[in-house]
Symmetry: C2
Subunit: 198 residues, 2 copies
């Protein structure tokens, strides 16, 4: 019992490090970059608030669990911005292998039953095949778009992103799980790109 | 439909401000103070990982929802540290009234059905009467203890806290919902207080 609690707290304490992993996206007020812990909170809130946009077969509670866990591997690997290296780094085989190793180390801190449960949740998110994972992935892609727009450009400026790149790297994924949301977002961000000839 | 999405995103964008509300507790590495958004993420993760510590009648998914929402009112009111004003400010009638007004403003940004659902979740947490709310409140109290210990004292030093004050302001609440966890935590923090004659 005491040994079990020690393992649970070893994991929870290790997870604290996610607060020091910073992302490419600025906060909405542009005061600093967003970190991956607060990003994960925002996504869980997105799932709660946009639950009515979830398609058939989506388990919103499970999506929330996925979103709480999905970035923990960045404690070892760091955040790989979606627009970095011309859009090729994110999701590359090297990064995927490093993230799988990080998942093994981090979830390996837990008691076996919990490890199996949380690792399976994380793998389901990564594989992006189930309705729940597709919904969660779409939320993960759309929130930075809102921050970039609010923050005056954010990582679109940093990585010189144009409309076509945004559509292929982000829009295609968001509209897969949240078609009505992407249509709504497009109307709001299009002017930013048009105005800058991107 | 479009009007509904606009309300949902107005709320989500307002919620971003929680990332700029800083708490009395330092991060585990003592590099800066924790903000209330990343704190909320940590608590949801605590609920997930310590689910086996939940007593009868606890709905862990609902506890996670409570913890995601519980600090949003700090966008208007700020964080009131548990040990500030000799332990009397937190939970005072003034603060409670201000937080209720904040909840009305913030959840009022949402469509009516969602507003009712999320406001009820927040009120249940605040009232701390149901098993689920008691579990969630206990998690909210115990996580800063772990951060203070890791960070070398944190808000215990800032507010000159002794063992008796910690037991009455924090321990009593944590052991209400998580008795085995508080027993485990006591063993780990007692030396910090003994060593300093507190
Ligand atoms: Ca709090």
């Amino acid at each position: 019992m005491t040994e079990r609690l020690s393992q649970q707290f070893a994991f929870l304490l290790e997870a604290e490090k996610l607060k020091s992993v910073y992302r490419a996206t600025p906060l909405a007020d542009n005061s600093r970059r967003e970190n991956s812990a607060e990003h994960s909170w925002t996504l869980a809130l997105y799932a709660l608030v946009l639950a009515d946009q979830a398609g058939p077969g989506v388990d919103v509670n499970r999506a929330i669990r996925m979103l709480l866990l999905h970035d923990l591997v960045e404690i070892d690997v760091g955040d790989v911005p979606i627009h970095s290296s011309d859009g090729t780094a994110h999701g590359s085989a090297d990064i995927q292998a490093a993230e799988a190793a990080a998942a093994e180390r981090l979830f390996g801190l837990l008691p076996n039953d919990l490890r199996a449960e949380l690792e399976a949740t994380w793998h389901e998110f990564e594989a992006a095949q189930t309705p729940t994972a597709i919904f969660a992935k779409s939320l993960d892609r759309v929130q930075p778009v809102m921050l970039n727009l609010e923050g005056g450009g954010g990582s679109w400026l940093e990585y010189d992103v144009n409309w076509e790149q945004l559509e292929s790297r982000v829009g295609a994924k968001v509209s897969h799980g949240l078609p009505a949301v992407w249509a709504w977002v497009q109307d709001r961000i299009r002017p930013w790109f048009t105005l800058r000839g991107r």
